[in-house]
């Protein structure tokens, strides 16, 4: 069920990325796209009745773990996401200092 929500989030993120004219709104759309993509990648490895991939003292003999590889990929993707968001926001602050606006349409006028 959640992978369909993730696909809709991907579509909404792409739509926002193409239509918004405000720099902050573009970065927000990029974040929504990223959350949708992360949920989708995790849902690829999930199946009903699977266990979280951690050995504890109560783990049964032949454990039925969900796929741990997508989780490792998403773990690093989230941290890269905060790096790209910080860089984009720093660029947005520089753009505001130079043009006095955050809107892409009003930038060429002065």
């Amino acid at each position: 069920m959640l992978q369909f929500a993730a696909i809709i989030l991907l579509m909404l993120g792409l739509y926002g990325l193409l239509t918004q004219r405000n720099v902050i709104k573009i970065i927000i759309s990029l974040n929504i796209l990223e959350i949708g993509l992360n949920l989708f990648i995790i849902s690829v490895g999930y199946f009903e009745g699977g266990l979280a991939p951690i050995f504890t003292s109560e783990t049964p003999a032949n454990p039925n773990f969900v796929d741990p590889l997508p989780q490792a990929l998403v773990l690093t993707a989230i941290v890269i996401g905060v790096g790209t968001t910080a860089l984009g926001l720093a660029l947005a602050r520089k753009i505001y200092q130079k043009y006095g606006t955050l809107n892409l349409d009003e930038m060429g006028e002065n």
Binding site: Q3, I7, I8, L10, M11, L12, L14, Y15, L18, T19, F40, V44, G45, F47, E48, A52, P53, I54, F55, T56, S57, T59, A61, P63, N64, F65, V66, D67, P68, L69, Q71, A72, L75, T76, I78, V79, I80, V82, G83, T84, A86, L87, L89, A90, L91, R93, K94
Partner: protein, 237 residues
């Protein structure tokens, strides 16, 4: 018109993804279980087993810091480059704190210092137990950075000693590479585990993986603290 084209592109993306899904799973030729996938070998051990092929009780950690450790080295390099870019764009020679329009009172300043210790210790705990419980270097480092954020928010004149963070970050990154080169000498290849794996589930187990995760935690924490400092200062004109 432009919005309509964007809507069309988004709908096309959704239709393509749904067409590539067969029976609601992307890779259904493998079946639902991990049997037959590459991931099957990653979890090949038992709780309490002595000296297994890969030590951590948390399989995600064993992928991030053991099987795909070279990926992680590249990934923290990406984070380093992005924090360098933020420092290049927002940093300057003369800086002052950004005025948040809010002056914290005495109780808030003192209370936040007590809370700072608790958040910092939580981050350190999560980092050190990364190979046993959920968490690890990345969220632990982010928790250390958010304790610095609390200090910045609760005191409007506070500036962390950013030079110390830079030294800590460089030392952690260099030690990561040095541990990798040590794997080249003591074992066969770069970043190979050359210590004893111990018993699965013990704190002192899994060889070099806790060391690497602590280094990743320090590096991520100092990098994100630097980014927060850059965002909360502005150049004096």
């Amino acid at each position: 018109m432009k919005n309509f084209l964007a809507l069309l592109a988004a709908l096309g993306l959704g239709v393509l993804i749904i067409l590539s899904l067969q029976n609601n799973t992307l890779f259904n030729e493998y079946g639902e279980d991990v049997t037959g996938r590459d991931s099957e070998e990653y979890g090949d051990r038992e709780y309490g087993e002595e000296n297994p092929a890969s030590g951590p009780a948390n399989i995600v950690t064993s992928i991030v810091a053991d099987f795909r450790s070279f990926d992680t080295l590249g990934e923290i390099t990406v984070l380093f480059v992005s924090s360098l870019g933020v420092a290049l764009l927002l940093g300057g020679t003369k800086q002052k704190r950004l005025d948040l329009g809010f002056h914290p009172n005495f109780m808030l300043r003192i209370g936040s210092k007590a809370l700072f210790g608790i958040i910092l210790m939580t981050g350190v705990y999560v980092t050190i137990h990364g190979h046993l419980t959920p968490g690890g270097g990345f969220p632990g480092g982010a928790m250390i950075a958010s304790s610095m954020l609390l200090l910045y928010l609760a005191d409007d004149t506070f500036r962390a000693k950013i030079k110390g963070f830079k030294i800590l970050e460089s030392v952690a990154g260099s030690l990561y590479v040095l541990i990798g080169i040590a794997g080249l000498f003591f074992a066969d290849y770069f970043l190979e585990n050359f210590l004893n794996n111990g018993v699965v589930g013990d704190l002192l187990s899994a060889g070099i993986i806790p060391l690497i995760y602590v280094l990743i935690g320090l590096k991520v924490g100092s990098e994100i603290s630097g980014v927060i400092d850059n965002f909360l200062t502005e150049e004096v004109v």
